[in-house]
Each structure stands twice: as C-alpha cells, then as structure tokens.
C-alpha cells in the first residue's frame, strides 16, 4: 500500500487545497492496481503488437517481417473458414439467448411462489465451471448412449449426430451456449423490467390494450436499451468462446467447428507460430471492437428515429 506511508499531512487549519489537489490525492489509491494492470494487461497488448510484425517461432531467432503475418493471414484458407464459423456461431449464440432470456425475464418479473429459489436455480448455469458444463454436454451428445438422442426417440424423432458431424456441430455447440448464457441475458433484461415505470400500463389497461400489444408497444421499447447491452456483452463473449468448444470438439470433426479462438490457440500452442498467432490476436481484437461498436451504433440510431 503506497498511500499508507503518508503521515497525516494537513495541519489543522491549513487550507484544504483546490478541488484538483484533492482529486490528485486519490490518484495514490490507484497506483498499485495501475502497476498490475500495466504489467499483466497493457504490456501483453503492446508486446502482442510487437510480435505480430515478426516471424517468431518458439526456440528460434525472430526476424522483423513487417505486415507479412497479416498478409499471410488474409490468404489463409483455414483462417478464413474459422472467421466464417465464428460469425455463424456468434450470430446464433447471441440471437437465441437474447430471445429466450427476454422471455424468461418476463416470467421472472411476475410474482409467484418460490420465485427466489427458482431464479437461483435458473442462474446456476452461467456461474458453473465451463469445463464441467462441457463434460456433461459431451456425455449427453453421445450418439449411442447419450440422453439427448433418447429424449428425441421418446418424441419420435430419429437420432441426431450432434457434435459428431460437420453439418450439425456448430448448432449443437450453440445449444450448449444457449443453456450456459441465457441466464445472463435474463438478469440484464430483468433489471430493465424492474426499472420500467408502471403508469403506461395502467393507461393501456384502461384503453383496453391486449397483452401482446402492451408487450410490443410499451414493454419492448422500455427494455430495448437493456437488450442492446445484453447483445453487446453476449457478442463479446460468444466471439471469445473457447472452453466449451475446445473441450467438446477441439475444433472438429476436421476443422468444422474451428473458431478464430481455437485457430489462435492451435497456432500459438500446438504449432508455436508466435508471430503469426499474435497477428490473429490483433485481427480478432479489431473484430470484437468493431462488432460491439456496430451494435452500439445501431442502438443510437434506433434512439434517433
């Protein structure tokens, strides 16, 4: 604690100093945390930029290559496919939890017996350890012994290949993602519902509006800002999804569920192409920021019109 060393400095009766001085006092509280943030967060960012313009394999000499890594990346078929997988996965893993989460929030907004307990059970998935979640789903996806195919069978639907065929692997992984992250969307939207005023509903009831009309024309506009926040958070998280995909499929079968993050992991820690992987990090980061900004922009535009 840096600040602790300061003896009581302001003698009684001394001028308290300007507002700026007072604010400056508080900077000292921040320095230790700032030092750590600089070391483990900012330094890695800068070092990544530096590495990304070098040809760098672990164990061999590095060589400055300018933008070669980026150019190579643009031409890399496997990387391009991983971008496609990521966008497809993200689109579904944002949209579906948003829909289900909003519906669940409408349910939990009403008062009913055991609501607290049931809501706690409902949010358990989002806190559960992703690796543990992935293991259980791996067992549930099992083509012969898995409980999912058994349940499908009960409903008279033929067994599904889930994560074991290239055509269905991503949508099956989205299913895990929905299970895992719908609670987060629910909580954010629930906060929006709690903050919504009640007057519009009262007058709507007097005007004889139907329940759907009330949802469409009163509730939805009121909670829209919260849905957008949830969408931004969900987009960032979905793009970054690693644990569940890596544990369940490792990007397979073949490379059919290889997202940017998995591609990045393999480049860095299976092939040890440090420079190349760093270029992927930079591109990936730009993609995350761009998509988040796009969503925020859409929200602003929705406000203006």
């Amino acid at each position: 604690m840096v600040a602790q060393a300061r003896a009581p400095s302001a003698a009684p009766g001394a001028p308290a100093g300007t507002a700026i001085d007072r604010r400056r006092q508080y900077y000292r509280f921040i320095y230790p945390a700032l030092a750590i943030i600089l070391a483990v967060i900012v330094f890695p960012w800068l070092f990544t930029l530096y590495m990304s313009v070098h040809e760098w394999k672990v164990g061999s000499a590095r060589e400055f290559v300018g933008f070669d890594n980026y150019l190579k990346l643009a031409a890399d078929q496997r990387f391009r496919e991983s971008v496609g997988h990521t966008l497809y996965f993200t689109f579904l893993a944002v949209l579906l939890p948003l829909g289900f989460g909003t519906l669940a929030a409408l349910v939990f907004h009403r008062d009913f017996p055991l609501r607290g307990l049931l809501r706690t059970i409902f949010i358990l998935p989002m806190m559960a350890t992703p690796v543990a979640v992935a293991l259980v789903w791996t067992m549930m996806f099992h083509p012969q012994l898995g409980v999912l195919n058994y349940l499908l069978g009960l409903a008279g639907i033929p067994p599904h290949t889930w994560v074991y065929s290239p055509g269905t692997v991503i949508s099956s992984l989205v299913l895990v993602e929905i299970w895992h992250w719908t609670p987060l969307v629910m909580l954010i939207v629930l906060g929006g519902l709690a903050a919504a005023p009640t007057e519009p509903y009262e007058s709507a009831v007097i005007d004889g509006a139907s329940r759907f009309q009330m949802f469409r024309y009163i509730t939805l506009p009121l909670i829209m800002p919260f849905i957008v926040v949830a969408a931004v958070i969900r987009t960032i998280d979905a793009l970054k999804t690693f644990d569940t995909i890596y544990v369940i499929t490792q990007g397979g079968p073949g490379t059919s569920s290889e997202t940017i993050n998995i591609f990045l992991y393999l480049q860095a820690f299976a092939f040890y192409n440090i420079g190349y992987a760093s270029a992927v990090v930079v591109v990936f980061f730009v993609l995350v920021v761009m998509l988040s900004l796009l969503l925020l922009y859409l929200r602003q535009r929705a406000k203006w019109t």
């Binding site: 604690m1 600040a3 300061r6 009581p8 400095s9 302001a10 400056r24 006092q25 508080y26 000292r28 509280f29 921040i30 230790p32 945390a33 700032l34 750590i36 943030i37 483990v40 967060i41 890695p44 960012w45 070092f47 990544t48 590495m51 672990v58 349910v107 049931l118 809501r119 706690t120 059970i121 409902f122 949010i123 358990l124 998935p125 806190m127 992703p130 690796v131 543990a132 293991l135 259980v136 789903w137 791996t138 067992m139 012969q144 012994l145 909580l187 954010i188 906060g191 919260f226 960032i236 998280d237 690693f242 644990d243 544990v247 993050n261 860095a268 820690f269 760093s278 990090v281 995350v288």
Partner: protein, 278 residues
Amino acid sequence: MDLTAKLKRLLDRGLFALSVLVVVSPAALVILWMLSLSMKTELENMEYPPVFLPGEFTLRNYVTVFENSPFGRYLWNSIVVSGLSTLVALLVGVPAGYGIAKAQAWRLAVLTLIARMTPGLSFLIPLYILFQFVGLVGTLWPMVIIHLVITVPIVVYVMISFFETLPPDLEEAALIDGCTAWQAFRHVALPLARPGIVVGAILSFIFSWNNFIFGAVLAGRETRTLPVAVYNVLTFEQVAWGPLAAAALIVTLPVLVLTVVIQKEIVSGLTAGSVKGG
C-alpha cells in the same frame, strides 16, 4: 359469467406455472443429470435406455477420482491460485475502486472494460514467453500472476460501482476533522464497504476458479488447477462416465454453492457491467 372468469383465471395460472416449469427445467435437469451420472455404477451409466434414478446411490465414483489421480493436490492448487489472486486483487483493487470513484478517473475504468473485451489468449501468449524467459514455468506463480488478469478488473469494477453509491458525507466530515484521505478511506469508507468487498471477492474467486485456458497452457503436471485436471481425465484415461461426472461436480460444486450465497447481489445488477473475465 363469474364461472368463466374463474376458469379463465385458473387456465391463466396453469399456463403460467407451465411456463415457469419450461424456463427452469433445462438448468435443473442438466445439473440433476450430472448428479445422477456421478452416483450410478458404470454398469447403469452404460445402459440404454438411460437410467435416471440410480438403483443404488454410490459414492464410489468420487473415491475413484481421488484414487486415480492426485485430485487432492489439484484441488489445493485451485484454492491457492484463486485464493491468492483474489487476495492480491482485493489489496490493490479496493483502494483503486475508491480512488477511481473519488478522482473520477474514468479512463482507467474504460481500460479495465477493454481488458474484458480482449480474448484471454492475447494475455497468455506474451506472458507465457515472459514466464519462460524468467524461468518461472513449473511453479504456481505464473498461474497466480496471470489470474490477476481476471481478478483485478472484477474487483476494481465492483468496488467502483459500490463506492459511487456510498454517500460522501461521513468521509467529508472525517476530512474536515483533519483526517488524511487515507485515514478517511481506512476508517470510514472501508468498514462501510464490507458488503461490496464480499461480493467482489466471491465473483473474482468464481471466475478465477472457472478459468481453464490459462492453466491449460501454463500448468505442468504438478501445478494443474481443477478444470485442467478434469479435462485431462477426459482425454487421457479410459473414459468412464461416473468418475468423469463426479470430477466435473467436484470442480463446479464450490462455485454453485457460492452462487447461491450471493445470488441476491448477482441478481441486483452486478451483471450489467463486466463481471465475466478471461
């Protein structure tokens, strides 16, 4: 007329109860299924159609997990890594949250937000090289240090939002009485902040505990944390579902219990910002 109104209300209630059931059951069923798998014999786990309620409840799988691998050691590693990194995060993060809220240093707040947007791997590659260079690989220290990437932003963020809502009157009175800023923080704001500190500590511990990727790369055989150990059970050993489910439950049970403890705080909006790390 009265009767149809009553019927309609009854139907309405029935439909609502059904929707509650539909909403809650996926979460409940998957967790119960994990529990069921972990308490059945291997014979029952391999049966088709699946057995839902074990014929006889057995804890054999849990014993197997600890017998077959040094799971106790991995449990300890997880406690040390998440505990220490949370402790350091509290030591620096609580004053920082206070300082940022007081000095209104929002640029720093934004920095931690950007940290949240960045994929965990982008911290991992440079720090991995650094740790190799310094020669720390093989000890628990690299794990503790890299977990600060998760814990520090969470604590800072939770504390900023907590100190912002704290009325400033008391500290101002202390300052007028001749306290230094540090004394006002230490003796006035800090005791009031205990609930916020508890929430920040639990959230940072949970997200550090859950992290897989840092350990997957940095940890050696001796320094694995639980999620990494469980993943290795899946890949390297004869895949037996019972022990696997038992191992998964051992990893995630502490987290589920902590979640129940602070569910009120989680619900009351701490989620809206940035709690998830890595």
